[in-house]
């Protein structure tokens, strides 16, 4: 099952590349949102491979808190742009 992580890492490179090559702030926010979701799923896959629940809980926390903080950042950016 370890073969899953290879393509996952390669697909993760796309939003990382997008986040530093695009100037528009909202395109960067999209890229960061995608990176946060993908990394948390990769953490979950690793936790299932190692059969270690603690890593899995960290993955779910990263998923929830990561997306929540991106939402707050989007609201701040909206207020700043007004």
């Amino acid at each position: 099952m370890n073969w899953i992580l290879g393509p996952m890492l390669l697909i993760l490179l796309i939003p990382i590349y997008e986040s530093f090559q695009d100037e528009d702030i909202w395109q960067k926010m999209l890229a960061f949102a995608s990176v946060s979701t993908k990394t948390s799923i990769m953490i979950l896959v690793i936790s299932v491979l190692r059969d270690d629940w603690m890593i899995g809980v960290v993955g779910v926390l990263v998923l929830s808190v990561g997306n929540a903080s991106l939402m707050l950042l989007a609201q701040v950016l909206k207020r700043v742009n007004e």
């Binding site: 899953i4 393509p7 796309i14 939003p15 909202w26 949102a33 979701t37 948390s40 998923l63 997306n67």
Partner: protein, 95 residues
């Protein structure tokens, strides 16, 4: 026989999830608008990730509480994040 079937279905779910990931993330690099990219991205990240987690669930059912929590977190947070990003990124016409 059943084990082989479950193995095939779980690997199938994981591969479908990876294909969704690639399909949805690829247009991110292109010159399309934010909302178009947000649509393909939310489809890819939400559905693709749910397919991958379901594949994991079929493979190792002993961790079902954790993976069910991840499924719920995914479905809720990704959807709301997509909505908030769409709302915040669209310029409102000044009345």
């Amino acid at each position: 026989m059943i084990d082989q079937l479950i193995n095939i279905v779980s690997y199938g779910c994981i591969v479908v999830g990876l294909v969704f990931w690639l399909w949805g993330t690829w247009p991110l690099v292109g010159p399309r608008s934010v909302l178009y990219k947000l649509h393909t991205l939310s489809v890819a990240d939400t559905l693709g990730s749910v397919a991958i987690v379901v594949g994991l669930l079929l493979k190792i059912p002993s961790e079902w509480p954790l993976l069910i929590m991840a499924l719920i977190a995914l479905a809720i947070w990704n959807t709301i994040l997509g909505y908030v990003l769409a709302y915040c990124s669209t310029e409102e016409p000044n009345d």
